[in-house]
Symmetry: C2
Subunit: 216 residues, 2 copies
Amino acid sequence: MITIARAPLRREVRRVVLDRILRGEIPPGGGINESELATDIGVSRTPLREALLGLEREGFLRSETGRGFFAAALTAEDAEELYPILWTLEGLALASTPSPNAARKAELERINADLARYERIPERALDFDRLWHDTLLAACPKRRLLTMTEVLKDQARRYERAYMADSGRVFVSTRQHEEILEALEKDEREKAVRLLETNWRVSLDFLLPWLRKARP
Amino acid sequence: MITIARAPLRREVRRVVLDRILRGEIPPGGGINESELATDIGVSRTPLREALLGLEREGFLRSETGRGFFAAALTAEDAEELYPILWTLEGLALASTPSPNAARKAELERINADLARYERIPERALDFDRLWHDTLLAACPKRRLLTMTEVLKDQARRYERAYMADSGRVFVSTRQHEEILEALEKDEREKAVRLLETNWRVSLDFLLPWLRKARP
DNA sequence: ATTCTGTATACTGTATACAATATGGAGTCG
DNA sequence: CGACTCCATATTGTATACAGTATACAGAAT
């Protein structure tokens, strides 16, 4: 017998809204009009609010009683907190992920090649970077860590997208990805975890001066 | 001019429901009847569902489409994942918390004394243990880390409460708390972080055999 | 007796309605 | 010209209504 899992509307609505946030269509600090957004998406306010409350808990939105929801601001202080949490947890996840088999290795290399190819197109580059990191942990059995890191990576993405859109610069980490994979092949797990941390730290080091200067 | 922050119902409702979960009134695996619980608490289903969805995102509840919400099960696999995340993030938080001043130190010692006094009464002991850990990080400026660790500590508490209720045993960590405080006084931050990890690890080591045996 | 099937009921997921507060603008006074 | 008050409107937070699915039970068939 097969089980057909109905999906609640809030899940799809969440994806749609998160997508708009990540693409900057709802800009940092930007407010949300529930009725408007609901009719735009084509659902009632109920599942929309459920999605919004979820996104607030995850840190993408903030809300003030009586005034509704806003996209969270991008600040140096927040990034300085977000990234270390991210690399710590992703490192924890990587530490309990089996070394990539041949198929996974090929997959990671292919994604990294795509990343190199599209490094001039920020949105694409971010897509492939994200995909690479997710694929790296695809075999990780720790559910909690995976959902937590996925949320955190989406938040980092919002910073990186804003940076790239504003500065016109793209920072790409194909070389670092290669090094991580090399370390894993040699079963140097510790080293791979350290390199993963470095990978994120480099992004943060680009972001911080920009966050401190461009938006005081 | 002072700003009076109205609080949305869902916040208070969340506290009430979480309290019932932590105290085991809603037992692991136990289902929730929304209408019943809503009238019991004295609100409509709307803010109740908002609270329930939040608790689901935080990991206290699970839900199946069309069947509603259940208190999450307590499993060895989950505890094995939860505790390392907890000690890692709390360690990260502790690492960026200023060393306790005289007042904070006195406060921590007082709480630890209370903990020792009530070590026979599980619910009390858990309250003071939790309070001690929160107080340890009271001066930590990292908001994200604080909210994340608070949620995780509540989840650990659910495990510990269930263990104590079932086995009649209480594991108390007054001595470990003292050691952590001593390390902090000497500004041995690294050591304090390690001891904090040990503190949680001891709990986990009590839990795992029980989880594996008592509930297969 | 047991399993299956049909039906009544309960409950969830979503939409809509309602009440209260926040927002914005016109008019007024300084 | 600017600040303030008052009012109309928009929007949120909460309650209720409704539709469809899951659950439970009674009766039939084996």
